[in-house]
Symmetry: C2
Subunit: 412 residues, 2 copies
């Protein structure tokens, strides 16, 4: 693997990049190097028109009739099928609904209902917090549950015949470390347990093969690598082998077998439609559909290869220009890393604030992580080079010590 | 109360209507009389621009920074405060989140947690189905719960010291019948029970005074009378006296006291923020905010008065033009009726399909209800008159017998 370590080499690499055309599908602001697509994906050029059409025509002119005539009612399935292609699932195994948090609650509950004689959920500390919080909320309703939180290297040892479900995030939000999905699924299955993966930090950025790995349930976010916009609806996957038996408790009318019969008793819809709860968020679904269309004509394999090259180039440039300045929170082996690199520094907050002020947008996670996301759809090698130039200049001039970079905002 | 029973009288009534200016805030299609604002509110003129600005500027240019700079992070509270003004609540007692179904689950769970020694939920058959379904889902996690479903006229008799919470929909989705909120809240409180009202078919259309009625919890929909667009986010209210003690189990990261500390253990945020679960749906919130702005300068009292006059005019015209043709599923006394009128007819489906084909959009609910919603913000008396002219012509010519009106679509 030859890395482009000069600006000229980066520019040449961009000129030869077979995925370069995808960048034109995005509306990126002038003067910004966006390394935070792992937190909020950039705006696709097609989204504004798609949303405007929805608002003005389908809603404004079609009104209530658009549930049928504009196919609003089938949007959760239609957009779910687009996501399925990115995560190694069949089209009818994925549906879009609610938030990642709510879908975690549904997915874990469905897994538990398939293992009625077991009460243990295994997860890890430092899992994305909302997943841990939702498990705690579920336990408030079901005090019989036992949530076993074990260190990452103790997970396989913690699996036994009492475990109902193993609940993990595929790529760690802070470090970018990626679990071996197939290995952990097999380890859970060997004990008769099921497995749920949160794909929020992997879907659309790394090769995910849910069915290849025999994963039982998965959930994920629409607004990171899938480019669905702020607060986009989330998705949920259930392997087809569970469709006939699974039941989830957030049983709203859209998940009913016959929602428009308006009967008093709940009867779950066939397949993934059961995971619908309330009325689908049609504006958010339209934006997510436009976001997913930016993947048209790409392969996950090619995206992953570019993502690895971008990350490796970043690391090599940081190590060359700033030897020993930063710690490395991400695995050095790209096979164990998602599409982000997390550096550590005692003054990480101030350094990131300084970078952002210069238009190099990553983010900070306490206590000392600078996160840099590498979105292969719209990031260029020259952006990576330029970002490291900014970082190098900041560190050499110590400009991050200026007082304006020490003021902490609620969100970065 | 003098009703305008000729077209001339209706036109004159419109000319004198102090609320007439509000119609210009909506973008209504030519040739349509829209009597389905109780199912999906019409498009406000300001919405397209508001959403386009959000997409192109806040998301496209601001990217992740807009969580702070465009005040995305405070949108649930800001839009909740706008809804509070329409339902007799204080600004910090309402927050926007998720769907009505999900909020029902949260609100009932929070009420149950405040009555830990009680296990009974009282509700009625024919309550909006998703509310019944979500209660059934909750019971699947908590089999100790006892869901008592009693006839509307038996509700007060069913309240006793075992009841934790009374769960009702303020205005019935099918008949339009409206409960006496204050009386039922008092009856529940007399037995030590709490009360939750679903305001989906009342918020924005009738005078709701949650604090005047001492209601404990309320939920409601953003896409009906509040004009938030298809699948708009919903709202939830909790009386301030419960804020310190309440706990809800869909405990996602946005409901955490310090979401950006990313700690492993959940700690609920102060006040209504606890009811946030996942990341807020920013596109939907923006459209809902624009929808709520259509209420600026209105009073609920004036809106309610116009709504009653519109409904009464409709009933009087139907009874005059088509005596004995339809049954009346709605209460004849407007004090007991929301902002809709439901007629019954054995061929209700075909008649409504015929009306819709002529641009008079109401909807049908099995087995025989024709629903007509009267949205005082954008409906004129002349629209009501013209709608009854269409209905009269259809019934006299029996044009609804044409075969194309007998084909049932999934949604109307």
């Amino acid at each position: 693997m030859s890395l482009p370590l000069s600006r000229e080499a980066c520019v040449a690499k961009d000129a030869a990049d077979p995925l370069a055309f995808a960048r034109s599908r995005f509306d990126l602001p002038e003067g910004v190097i966006y390394l935070d697509g792992n937190s909020l994906g950039a705006l696709p050029r097609a989204t504004a028109q798609r949303v405007a059409e929805l608002v003005q025509n389908a809603w404004g002119q079609g009104l209530i009739r658009s549930w049928n005539s504009a196919n609003w009612i089938t949007a959760p399935q239609r957009v779910g099928a687009m996501i399925a292609q990115l995560i190694g699932a069949d089209a009818d195994e994925v549906i879009v609904a609610d938030s990642t948090s709510i879908n975690l609650f549904k997915g874990i509950s469905a897994a538990l209902a398939l293992r009625p004689d077991r009460r243990v959920i295994v997860t890890e500390p430092g899992n994305f917090p909302t997943d841990l919080y939702m498990l705690q909320g579920l336990k408030s309703l079901r005090p019989d549950l036992d949530i076993r939180i074990v260190a990452r290297d103790q997970i396989e040892a913690a699996l036994d015949e009492a475990v109902a479900v193993l609940c993990l995030t595929h790529v760690h939000y802070k470090s970018g470390e990626m679990f071996d999905m197939a290995r952990l699924a097999a380890a859970a299955h060997a004990k008769g347990a099921l497995v749920l993966f949160d794909l929020s930090h992997s879907a659309g950025a790394v090769e995910v093969d849910l069915n290849g790995a025999e994963v039982d349930f998965a959930i994920g976010c629409g607004y990171k690598y899938l480019n669905g916009g702020p607060g986009a609806p989330a998705f949920i996957f259930a392997a087809r082998r569970h469709h006939a038996q699974m039941r989830q408790p957030l049983s709203g009318w859209m998940g009913h077998a016959r929602p428009f019969d308006f009967v008093d008793d709940y009867a779950p819809a066939t397949g993934m439609a059961q995971f619908l709860s309330g009325t689908p968020a049609i504006l958010g679904l339209a934006a997510l559909e436009a976001g997913l269309a930016t993947f048209d004509g790409q392969t996950l394999k090619a995206l992953r290869e570019k993502s690895v090259l971008l990350s490796e180039t970043f690391i090599a440039l940081v190590e060359t220009k700033l030897p020993g300045v930063f710690g490395m929170a991400s695995p050095r082996n790209p096979a164990h890393r998602g599409s982000q690199v997390s550096l550590t520094h005692p003054h990480g907050y101030e350094i990131m604030a300084n970078l952002i002020a210069q238009g190099v947008i990553g983010d900070f996670r306490a206590p000392d992580h600078l996160r840099f996301g590498f979105t292969p759809l719209y990031l260029r090698f020259q952006d990576v080079y330029d970002a490291t130039e900014h970082l190098s200049a900041i560190m050499q001039a110590e400009s991050w010590r200026a007082p304006q970079f020490a003021t902490r905002a609620a969100v970065t």
